[in-house]
Structures are given as structure tokens and as C-alpha cells.
Symmetry: C2
Subunit: 344 residues, 2 copies
């Protein structure tokens, strides 16, 4: 029996659908990462892309936080730039920096550098990793991909950017080139997500980590249509679709409107306010400040309880951090946090 069916009643998937749960489910963005000593040990043997391309290693990195923390979901060990790198765009994952693109995208001709993704041929290792994971995981596996704006920003800026000035200039100066770029990226992300779900992933998360740099008008006019293309293209698969960004307080309603079943909320927006913005029938994910996890446990406990209180017992809530686990986080803190959320 394929994993999605076997685990259909898992608390995480019930919460994504807004159904009653026995306990609030919890997972952590970047739970497979440098906060774990066992992860750092793995990474001593291999670089990021090598880990991702070696199913045995990617499977192990995905399993580690599930074993250690007892979280309610696993998330595929990968990176949002994997599909575009597989298509031949030169990308390096620089430690402490992030993705760096050899030759940034600046013109209409650059868009031609992206062809449609053929997952079985281009990223077979991702599919193999997903299949191996769902064969023995006892919790749902979340697949993921980058949202078109965030991927476009890496391609246009050539790496992480504080201001996204070139990206915004392209968006406004050459709207048809921009649209071609984000539509191509949407189709690539859609293809990898469909392949991950067909291989057994039970849910997907679309990361629009940089969307919070945009005002609502620009997001609505220049980004939402491309992101909506991904969500619409997943509808027939019946898996929960999570839409995540940071600094997106003004965008939460639009991010739901793009077609999300679950909207990720950073720590700046209380869940009760977020729920009013996403509207009826959309679940939430979040939103403890990851920086708080570096404080004493007594502080973490108080702040985690505030998050739960702000949710007000609504069943459509998956507990998470408002952004990724910080590398200096004590793993014991996250393990205790899982226990606290489960006991609440």
C-alpha cells in the first residue's frame, strides 16, 4: 500500500486538512541540518549536492531529525535549486552564503537557458530518495520546491540578495521577460513536486523565502499568477500544499489565494491575526521565533505556549518555527519542544 494512503490519518496530514487531531503535529523547517551532530558528521563526508545526489546519504539526513526529535513529518533532504542545477544552470551552494549562480540571468535570451524538467531523466536521485524514504518512514514525507519569485531572484541577482534590486528592475522594466522566467520556473517546480508526490510524498511545501521583499501590489501582479500555476497543477494529486515565506505579513491572504491549503507564518504575525488574513478553510503552520530556541528552556516553554494559545485550539495548525532551525540550536531544546507540543 503506498505511503500516502497508509499514513492518511497521520496528525500532520489531518491538521493540514483542518481536521480534528489528538495532538498538535510539529516539524521544524531545516530540521535536517547543522544543529544535529549526526548531520555534521554526514556532511564531513560529502558536499551538499553530493549528499542530495546520493540517495543513501539523503535518506539518512532525512531520517536523522525524525529519529532524534520524534517530529510528525519528515522533509526531503534537498535544496530548492536542485532542479535548475540539473538543467545545466551553473549553481554552487556556498557554505554560509547560499546558492551562487555562475552566470546570472539578465535578458530574455537567458530564459532560454531553462528547458522543461524531465524528473525521471534529470533528477532520478530525488525520485529514488523519495521512494526509499516512503518505504520505511512512519510519518508523512513532505516534498518541496522553490517558488518562482525566490528562484528567479537567485538567478537574476546571481546569489542571495538583501535588496533584490535587479530582480525588481527586471520585473518592472521587462514584464514579458519576467513572466516568461517565472512561468518557466513554475513549470520546473511543478514537475519536481509532481514527481515527488508520485513517488510517495504525502504533502508538499513551496518555499517563497524572499517573497516578503515585495509589496502586495507587486506580489499580486507579478508573482501570484506564477505561484498559482504550481498550486493548480498539483490539485489533482490530493496532497496538502503548504506555501511558505518570511516577512510576509502583508501577503498572507494572497499566498492563500494562490492555492495553498496551508500557509506558513513567520514569528512576526500572531497566529490569530494570520488566520483572519488567510480566510476560512486554510490551515496554518508556525510560528515560534527560531532565535528563541537559543534561549533557556524556561523561555522556550513560555514562548511555545504563547504560540499555541494564539492558535486558540484551532485544529488546522501544524506547529513549526517561523523560519529554519538556526545552526547553534541545541537539539535537546527541539526534542523537548516536540514533547511540549504533543502534550499540550
Amino acid at each position: 500500500m503506498p505511503a500516502p494512503t497508509r499514513l492518511a490519518d497521520a496528525p500532520f496530514l489531518r491538521a493540514c486538512r483542518g481536521e480534528a487531531v489528538e495532538h498538535t503535529p510539529v516539524w521544524f523547517m531545516r530540521q535536517a541540518g547543522r544543529a544535529l551532530p549526526e548531520y555534521r558528521a554526514l556532511r564531513e563526508k560529502a558536499g551538499m549536492f553530493e549528499m542530495i545526489r546520493t540517495p543513501e546519504l539523503a535518506v539518512e539526513a532525512t531520517h536523522q531529525p525524525v529519529r532524534r526529535y520524534g517530529v510528525d513529518a519528515a522533509i526531503l533532504f534537498s535544496d530548492i535549486v536542485v532542479p535548475i542545477e540539473a538543467l545545466g544552470v551553473g549553481v554552487e551552494l556556498k557554505p554560509g552564503v547560499g546558492p551562487v549562480v555562475d552566470v546570472p540571468f539578465r535578458t530574455a535570451a537567458d530564459v532560454e537557458r531553462l528547458r522543461p524538467l524531465e524528473p525521471e531523466a534529470d533528477i532520478p536521485y530525488v525520485i529514488e530518495t523519495v521512494r526509499a524514504l516512503v518505504a520505511d518512514l512512519d510519518v508523512p514525507l513532505i516534498g518541496f520546491a522553490g517558488a518562482p519569485f525566490t528562484l528567479a531572484s537567485y538567478l537574476v541577482e546571481g546569489g542571495p540578495s538583501r535588496d533584490h534590486a535587479r530582480t525588481k528592475a527586471l520585473m518592472h522594466e521587462q514584464p514579458s521577460t519576467w513572466r516568461a522566467l517565472v512561468d518557466a520556473l513554475a513549470d520546473i517546480s511543478l514537475a519536481t513536486l509532481r514527481a515527488q508526490v508520485e513517488a510517495g510524498a504525502s504533502a508538499v511545501q513551496v518555499f517563497d523565502s524572499w517573497a516578503g521583499a515585495l509589496n502586495p501590489d507587486d506580489y499580486h501582479d507579478h508573482v501570484l499568477p506564477a505561484s498559482a500555476r504550481i498550486f493548480a497543477g498539483l490539485a489533482d494529486l490530493g496532497v496538502p500544499r503548504i506555501h511558505f515565506g518570511v516577512g510576509t505579513g502583508e501577503l498572507l491572504g494572497l499566498m492563500a489565494e494562490a492555492g495553498a491549503d496551508v500557509v506558513g507564518v513567520d514569528w512576526r504575525v500572531p497566529l490569530r491575526a494570520a488566520r483572519a488574513r488567510v480566510g476560512h478553510g486554510v490551515a496554518l503552520q508556525g510560528n515560534l521565533d527560531p532565535a528563541i530556541c537559543l534561549a533557556d528552556w524556561s523561555v522556550v516553554e513560555i514562548e511555545a505556549k504563547k504560540v499555541l494559545a494564539s492558535n486558540g485550539g484551532h485544529p488546522g495548525h501544524t506547529f513549526n518555527l517561523g523560519h529554519g532551525v538556526l545552526p547553534d540550536t541545541d537539539p535537546d531544546t527541539l526534542a523537548r519542544l516536540v514533547d511540549l507540543v504533543h502534550a499540550s
Copy 2:
């Protein structure tokens, strides 16, 4: 006649008070800076602290954007860490990084490293610069200081921080040490602001550049009381008090409540939404995305008009960017922007 009286009817000051204006006033955060070739020429001769401590140079840097752009206000050339550096806290202004503190603040004993500021003795050059400026400026001069949270974050982290994790830990783990720290910083900022106004500054801006890292509960409980101490301590001087931060969409109401006459808004929040949050009687400042100023003029024009339209003709509006001028900005773009705002 002292400058504040002479210029009391200047459009910028009228807009800060919510009074009718003939044209929308405009100035730019970081208008004295690297976007100007004449500024870069000045900086070849002297480091930041040397410029700030040399009234002749600080006066010239303050004048440059007023001459070049025709903005409606000048802002003192200085830095928010100037008073604490003058008190003996070792701080370096690293180009491209920001303030770096030699020995970060971590304990209650560190708070003792801050004594009350005596402006005439500790920062005489600031007072001399303000006096020289108001003697010949034809537009109001804005004085400024750092808000307690942002200053505390530099002191605790030891420099700019993405996560503010140590700052947040101190705030929650040692609330009485935290309170002593932010109260001491509030008194220091208040002292420099009073001295600047007494020397002739017509308005003040309190920069809480990092406040957007906080959720509303933490801002309310751990930051607002100290910031309010500054605003209350300025009330008798009768000058407009501007309160600025970035990523503060959820905090705008609280930032007004702290005692601001004008709240600065970054580009993420449309002015019509911001006005509803700050409440009646509070003016706004903002909020064109500084990244947009790197695009073609046709784009800048459209986006600037959107900002003005979002304000809906309300008199309590000073046009500005949502954050500081980016160094790669073409000065001609800013000059045209001033003309556009004045003609609207």
C-alpha cells in the same frame, strides 16, 4: 531668530503636524551618502567618525543632498552609535558591515559601562555641527538618535545580526538587566536629541531599524516602554518626533503609541493600510521601495505615483523611501523624484 521658528511653516514641518501643505514634502533616508559622487569625494579624505567629529565636514555632507536634490529637509550627518562611542564603548564603523562593538554586552555588569550622556562635554562636535547648519539652511534640520532596541542589539550581538538571538535571549532570560540596558540607552538617546533640538534642529527621528525582528508581544512588553521614555522626554520641546523601523507592519500601531507624531513606513505596507494602523492624528513618512530607484525612470515614476495615490491626498504625509538610499542609486533619479513629488 532661531531656525525652528523661522522655518515653522516649512512644508515638511506642516506635514509632520498633519496640516495642509502646498506640495507634499520629500526627503530621503541616507540622502547624505555613497550615491552622491561629492559625498564619495569627501569620504576619500576622512573616515566616518572623523567626518562626524569634524563639523566642517559633517556640515558639508549634510548640505550636499539638499543642494543636489532640493529636498524639503536636511538630516544631520552622524550615526546612531556616536553617543555610545563617545561614552567609551569601543565601536568601529566597518565599511559594508556597520557598527562593530569591541567587547559585546552580555551581563548586568556590562550595563554599568554606560553612564549618562553629557552632550556639551561628550559630543560637542554634534552640537557645533547642528548650530552651524541651522545658521544657513533654508530647510528644516532633522536630528536623530537610535532607538533602545536597535542600539541594544548592536551592543549585545557585537555588530549587525540577522537573528538577534543573543539580544532576544537576554531580553527574556534577564528581563531586569534588559530593562536597565534599554532604559540607559533611552536616556542617552534622549540627551542627544534634546541637545540637537536645543541647538536648532526642527524635528527628530528615532531609528529603530531592527525592531521589525520582534513580534508585537515582545515589542510591547520589552521595547515600547523604553522608546516611549524618549518620546515623552521630548514632548516639551514641541518638535515633530518621527519613529522609524523596517519590517514593522505588525508594530506600526505600537510605534505610534510609543509617542510618535510621525511613523515611518517601509515599502511592504501600503500607506492606506498604515494609516489605519497608526490611528487618527499621526502622520506618515514613506514609502517607495529603495530598490525601485535602481530601475528605469519610467518605473520609478509609476511606483512613486502609486505611493502618492495610496496616501490619498492626506496632508499628514512626507514622501520618503521605505528604507535608506541604496549606494548604486543614480542621483538624477532622486532629483527627478523630488520634482515629481513636488509637482503632484
